[in-house]
Amino acid sequence: MKVGIPKGLLYYKYGVFMKTFFDKLGAEIVVSPDTNRQILNEGVKYCVDEACLPIKVFHGHVSYLKDKCDVIFIPRIMSIREKEYICPKFCGLTEMIANSIPDLPFLLGEPIYWTPKEKLMKWALNTGKYLTNDKQKIKKALESALSKQNKTKNTIKQPKLKYKVALLGHPYSVYDPFLNMDLVKKLNRLNVEIITEDAVDDKSIDFEVNKLFKKPFWTFARNTYGAAVNLVKGQKIDGVVYISSFACGIDSVLIELIEHETPNLPFIVLKIDEHTGEAGFNTRIEAFADMLGRRLNFAYNNTAYG
């Protein structure tokens, strides 16, 4: 059986898991290509207008796959950490897709709870049963998918450059170069290297998050907030770049919360949707890099004379 895996949303975090699981079940795997113009256009065509860019792009990936496989896997991830959620659009992803794109093959869109283990196992059994009757095989597939995933660390290789900024945002915005208009390379060319939230360990994140009045129940918010505050306090960075999508409800809260913790740092929020022009985008990044330069000089002069 051919299983289609859309290269969108949390493929950028759990791609290894997805591929290993279906591979171990003996499926033939078709992954959609890196996001490109055509995929974006397809997504915009089918998706509800009001949705955010990553969701539209995901629709495009599904549309690309629809006549190239027997079933399509939909990562309807309800929750990654206990008592935390991702986003309502993830919870309703399967229905959004099923009601928006015509002529789809069967969708493997069971809800996924990453913890506790029994719940994940339930997903695996519910999904695996379409591929095999052998429960043992499914269990083994889950184990190896998990162990491979745990050994994978998301990183973006970076050269040592003059300035260093925290690049914040949801994994699919940070790691999909088409979606973020090649942001990382552009920053590098301006002598700016980046560090992402993946560089901060879980314990340090918890430490910062526990100080909030109310624990955030969005995993993205928890990770990004905790990591940002940690990076800022450690004084390891010269500024913050936040890559976000228009109409992302989570970011409308999260960005404010982070800005409250970084009052004295250059902070730029880049919001994107399908209408964002590249020229204006580049200008803003350049202006930001200039500001980093001015600030460093200023700080240097001040200490020299003060």
Partner: protein, 361 residues
């Protein structure tokens, strides 16, 4: 202590009854209006959903009158509403207002002890006895229930009334008079009187008015200012409307959800199209659309604020229900830029469409 609450439909009446009953000082913010929205938007993140901005506006206006304590209900679902207070506290304190937020989360989430402890902050300021306090809570709930009953009747009977405008007038007058009362007993008596009046409105049962369900995001469905008074307008058009979402439904939902007791019919009805809870009240929206069709309504209007995450999901699903059941559904998205004229045009076109469909049937 001077306590205040944000607006949401008729909640202010119940809150007034409660505060009067336990005799603590309070301010009820002005009804939502252009100025409060502007003020609220000024201090809110730009892309924040409309309820947040309106609530901020309420706080700002109450603070001007000296309020130092805010009572709100939280909710621990996967949506922004639950994150509101953290951010609101931070924004307000940055503006130099250190307010005491009393957040009434669902007892199931924070534990009954914590729930009562939070309420205790208010009760401490009251000199009434324990029995009187409990009585005041009870009466506040009765106020909520009876005003909702009156409102639901008025909205439904508006399609059948013989003298155009009766229902609307009675509803308006009732709210005004109720707000004028300074003790809960009096308020309950007033509402009861108006309930009698609404029951006596002359109606023509042979009329066959357009019947619509109002569905969507709970705040914008309930708070008239945020939906440009859609229910009032539909009353003017002689349309009968129904809605399920009310403050007391919400309260019951928070208390009963852990037991899965509230609205089991809704859950069943939504199953085919959206089998899981996605946050906010997305699942209810789908269930209501299906039920509205079953109950013989002529159509449904979905209302939600721009950028509302769960309702974007339901907006993707509703066209399938419309197609499968040949049941007209219109989505209206509101934000601070929504213009009255365009809004009305869309509603009128929708009503025309249903009218002609009704004729051919």
């Amino acid at each position: 202590m001077l306590i205040t609450i944000p607006h949401m439909g008729n909640v202010y009446l119940a809150a007034k009854a409660l505060f009067d009953g336990i005799d603590v000082p309070y301010v009820i913010p002005e009804p939502n209006n252009k100025e409060s929205l502007q003020k609220g938007s000024l201090y809110s993140p730009e892309e924040m959903c409309l309820p947040f901005k309106l609530m901020m506006g309420n706080y700002m206006q109450s603070i001007e009158k000296g309020a130092d304590t805010i009572l709100i209900t939280g909710s621990c679902g996967p949506c922004r509403y639950g994150e509101y207070c953290e951010l609101q506290i931070k924004i307000l304190s940055k503006l130099g207002h250190d307010l005491d937020f009393i957040v009434l989360d669902a007892p199931g989430e924070i534990g009954m002890d914590e729930f009562l402890r939070r309420l205790g902050k208010i009760f401490k300021a009251s000199s009434k006895s324990r029995a009187e306090k409990l009585l005041a809570i009870k009466r506040a709930f009765r106020v909520m229930d009876s005003i909702e009953k009156l409102e639901a009747k008025a909205h439904y009977l508006a399609g059948y009334e013989i003298n155009k405008g009766d229902c609307k007038r009675i509803l308006r007058q009732c709210k005004k008079d109720a707000f004028g009362c300074d003790n809960p007993v009096e308020m309950l008596r007033v509402i009861k009187e108006y309930l009698k009046k609404i029951n006596a409105v002359p109606v023509d049962k042979t009329k066959n008015p357009i019947k619509l369900s109002i569905i969507g995001e709970i705040y914008t469905v309930i708070e008239p200012y945020s939906n440009l008074n859609i229910e009032d307008k539909l009353m003017d058009y002689g349309v009968s409307t129904k809605r399920l979402l009310t403050p007391s439904w919400w309260y019951r939902d928070i208390v009963l959800k852990p037991l899965k007791l509230n609205s089991p019919g809704l859950r069943r009805a939504s199953k085919e199209y959206l089998p899981l809870y996605i946050g906010g009240h997305g699942r209810e929206c789908i269930g209501e659309a299906v039920l509205a069709h079953k109950e013989g309504m002529d159509g449904a209007i979905q209302i939600f604020p721009l950028g509302c995450m769960p309702e974007i999901v339901t907006k993707a699903i509703l066209p399938s229900i419309q197609r499968d059941k040949n049941f007209p559904i219109m989505s209206l998205i509101v934000d601070e830029m929504t213009g009255e004229a365009g809004f009305m045009t869309r509603i009128e076109a929708f009503l025309d469409m249903i009218k002609s469909q009704k004729k051919t049937n």
